[in-house]
C-alpha cells in the first residue's frame, strides 16, 4: 500500500515483471514494486512460495533477474527503472 498522505511522487512509469506490466514511481526499488504486486516473489529451494524478508540487503531472498541483461540483483537495493524487465525465481 503506497502511502499517499504527505508524500509527493513524480509521474509514474511502467516496467515488466514476468511479462506483467506494472506501474512504478521514480525512486522506488524493485522490491517495492514487487511487494505492491504480491508478497510472493519467487520460490524457495523446496518449491514453496518465497517472499522477501529483511529489505536491507542482508538476507538475499529478494534476488531477481534484470532482463535481457541477465544480471541478478537484490531487489531491495536496486531502483526500478522505466522499461525494465524483471524475471523472478
Amino acid at each position: 500500500m503506497r502511502i499517499e498522505s504527505k508524500v509527493e511522487r513524480q509521474a509514474p512509469f511502467s516496467l515488466q515483471v514476468e511479462g506483467e506490466t506494472l506501474r512504478a514511481y521514480p525512486g522506488e526499488t524493485i522490491a517495492t514494486v514487487l511487494v505492491e504486486r504480491s508478497p510472493v516473489i519467487g520460490h524457495m529451494a523446496n518449491g514453496d512460495a518465497q517472499g522477501l524478508f529483511c529489505n536491507m540487503g542482508t538476507c538475499c531472498l529478494c534476488m531477481v533477474t534484470i532482463l535481457p541483461e541477465g544480471r541478478r540483483v537484490r531487489a531491495c537495493l536496486t531502483a526500478a527503472e522505466p522499461g525494465m524487465e524483471i524475471g523472478l525465481g
Binding site: 500500500m1 503506497r2 502511502i3 499517499e4 498522505s5 504527505k6 508524500v7 509527493e8 511522487r9 513524480q10 514511481y25 521514480p26 525512486g27 522506488e28 526499488t29 522490491a31 517495492t32 511487494v35 505492491e36 504480491s38 508478497p39 510472493v40 516473489i41 524457495m44 529451494a45 523446496n46 514453496d48 512460495a49 518465497q50 517472499g51 522477501l52 524478508f53 529483511c54 529489505n55 536491507m56 540487503g57 542482508t58 538476507c59 538475499c60 531472498l61 534476488m63 544480471r71 541478478r72 540483483v73 537484490r74 531491495c76 537495493l77 536496486t78 531502483a79
Partner: protein
C-alpha cells in the same frame, strides 16, 4: 571515486557519519561506502530523492540524528560511495587495505590506509512454523518500507517479538494510514516493569530514550491497536501467503507479520578480516572487539556502532566520534592528550548510552521467548533446511561441520540468518560459528573476472 584513500568508512549510518565529521578538517582523503544510495543508516533510511515527503522523521528523538545527517551531507571533500556493497577486504603488500566493492555497474576496488567498519546491525531472524510464508518480514524491514519507500507492505499487520522497537514501528505504520492488528510481546508486562524498576537510575537518566516507546504505546492504545504482553507466537498460517498468526491467545487475522526479537551486529567484514569477535548479546550474533579508540585486533582496522554490539543510534554516534579521534591519533594528526580531551565528554555520554543499552538488552531479551520450532520448520531459508534435517547433526559437531553436512548456511546469505539459530541449537558457547567467507554479498561472476 579515487583509487586510494587515507580512510575508508564502511557504513553511512550514525556511527560512520560521526567518524567522518570528527575527522573533518584534517585533510584526509576519506571515502564512505554504503550499499544504500543515501547516508542515514538503518535508523534514518532516507526516502528517494525523487519523493517529496513532508515532515519526514519529524519527532524530537530524531532531531540530533537528523542534524548530524545534514552536517554529513554538507561535508565537502569526502567521497560518498553509495549504492555499493563491500564484498570483502584484504591486506595489500604495502599494508594498506584493498576493499572490493560491487554496485549496479560492476566491481571496483579501492585502497585505504585505514578502514572503519560501521556496518550496523540487522534484524535477528527467528524461525517458527510458517515464517517463510510471503508476507512475513523482519520488523525493521517493514519499517524501512514505511520510512524510506513510503509504502506499507500489508493492510493488517501483526508485530510480534520481544523488542520494544516494535511499538515505534507499529506507531509509524498506523501514522502512515495502515492498520496494525496487534502488537504482541512474548514477555509479560510485569517482567518488563520489574527490570525497569531494578535499574531506576539508568531508566530515569534515559527517560528520553524510553519516552518514545511509551508515547507510541499510548497512541496505539488510543487508536485501538491491541498491545498485548505475555503472548507468544505459535505459528504463522496461510496458504501461499500470510493469512494470520496463531499465538498463545488464539488466532489473529493479518496479511503481514513483522518479527521483532532483536538485532544482531553485521559481522561479515570484521570476521572475514580476522578481527577478534565476542558473543554479542542475548539476541545472539558476533560483535567486533575494540579497544578504547575503537581499534579492532587487526592493525589499521577500526569498528564503531552496532558492528561492535547493538546499543542504539546515540551510542553509535559516540563510538563514531571516538573512532574518528582514534584514527586521527594513530595517523599522528592529534596528540594523545588532545585526542583524549576531544572525546572526554563523548566517552561519558557513550558509557551512559551503553548502560541504557544493557538495560534494554535485558528488557528485550528474546532468550526463553523464542517460538517453538516444528520438525518441518525451516531454519535456513536459502537452502530450505528444516529443523528435522539438522537434528541428526547436533552431536557435538562444530557449526561449520553441521553446515557441511546439512547445507544450513550454505546459501547466498552466507548464514547471516540461520547462524544464530544454529548456534542456539548447538548450545556450544565456544563455537565461533561459520567461517566468514568472501563475498559478503552475492556478486556476478562476470564482474569479478580478470579482463579478457
Amino acid at each position: 571515486m579515487a583509487e586510494r584513500y587515507d580512510l575508508a568508512i564502511v557504513g553511512g549510518g550514525p556511527a560512520g557519519q560521526a567518524a567522518a565529521l570528527a575527522l573533518q578538517g584534517h585533510g584526509l582523503a576519506v571515502a564512505v561506502i554504503d550499499e544504500q544510495p543515501h547516508p542515514g543508516g538503518q535508523i534514518l533510511r532516507q526516502p528517494p530523492r525523487e519523493f517529496g515527503v513532508t515532515g519526514w522523521m519529524g519527532g524530537k528523538v530524531y532531531a540530533a540524528l537528523r542534524r548530524q545527517l545534514g552536517q554529513f551531507e554538507a561535508l565537502s571533500g569526502l567521497d560518498w560511495l553509495g549504492g555499493r556493497s563491500v564484498l570483502g577486504l584484504s591486506r595489500s603488500s604495502d599494508a594498506s587495505f584493498v576493499l572490493t566493492l560491487s554496485g549496479r555497474s560492476g566491481v571496483e576496488t579501492l585502497r585505504a590506509r585505514r578502514v572503519l567498519l560501521a556496518t550496523g546491525c540487522q534484524d535477528l531472524a527467528v524461525p517458527l512454523p510458517g515464517w517463510t510464508l510471503p508476507g512475513v518480514y523482519a520488523a525493521g524491514g517493514i519499517q524501512a518500507f514505511v520510512k524510506s519507500q513510503q509504502i506499507v507492505p500489508g493492510k493488517r499487520i501483526v508485530l510480534a517479538g520481544t523488542h520494544p522497537l516494535q511499538l515505534l514501528i507499529a506507531d509509524q505504520i498506523v501514522a502512515a494510514g495502515a492498520s496494525v492488528s496487534a502488537v504482541m510481546f512474548a514477555q509479560s508486562r510485569q517482567a518488563m516493569a520489574r527490570l525497569l524498576a531494578e535499574s531506576p537510575l539508568v531508566a530515569a537518566r534515559q527517560a528520553s530514550a524510553l519516552l518514545p516507546a511509551g508515547a507510541a504505546m499510548a497512541r496505539l492504545r488510543r487508536r485501538g491497536v491491541p498491545v498485548r504482553f505475555g503472548e507468544s507466537l505459535l505459528g504463522i498460517v496461510g496458504g501461499e501467503r500470510v493469512e494470520g498468526v496463531r499465538s498463545s491467545a488464539g488466532e489473529t487475522a493479518c496479511d503481514a507479520v513483522g518479527l521483532c526479537y532483536g538485532f544482531v551486529p553485521q559481522s561479515a567484514l570484521p570476521r572475514m578480516a580476522g578481527a577478534g569477535m565476542r558473543a554479542a548479546g542475548p539476541a545472539g550474533g558476533w560483535a567486533a572487539e575494540c579497544d578504547a579508540w575503537q581499534r579492532t585486533s587487526v592493525a589499521g582496522l577500526y569498528a564503531a556502532g552496532e558492528t561492535t554490539g547493538v546499543a542504539g543510534a546515540a551510542a553509535a554516534q559516540c563510538a563514531g566520534r571516538i573512532a574518528g579521534a582514534g584514527i586521527a591519533l594513530d595517523l599522528g594528526l592529534l596528540a594523545p592528550g588532545a585526542a583524549e580531551r576531544r572525546v572526554a565528554g563523548v566517552r561519558r555520554a557513550h558509557a551512559k548510552h551503553l548502560k541504557f543499552a544493557a538495560l534494554l538488552d535485558r528488557i528485550a531479551d528474546p532468550t526463553g521467548h523464542f517460538p517453538v520450532m516444528a520438525p518441518s520448520t525451516i531454519v535456513c531459508r536459502c537452502e530450505a533446511v528444516r529443523l528435522a534435517d539438522l537434528v541428526s547433526c547436533l552431536d557435538g559437531r562444530s557449526a561449520n561441520a553441521v553446515k557441511l553436512a546439512s547445507r544450513c548456511g550454505m546459501g547466498p546469505c552466507q548464514g547471516r540468518n540461520c547462524e544464530p539459530t544454529l548456534l542456539r541449537l548447538l548450545g556450544d558457547r565456544a563455537d565461533p560459528g561459520f567461517s566468514a567467507r568472501f563475498p559478503a554479498r552475492p556478486v556476478m561472476l562476470g564482474d569479478l573476472a580478470a579482463p579478457e
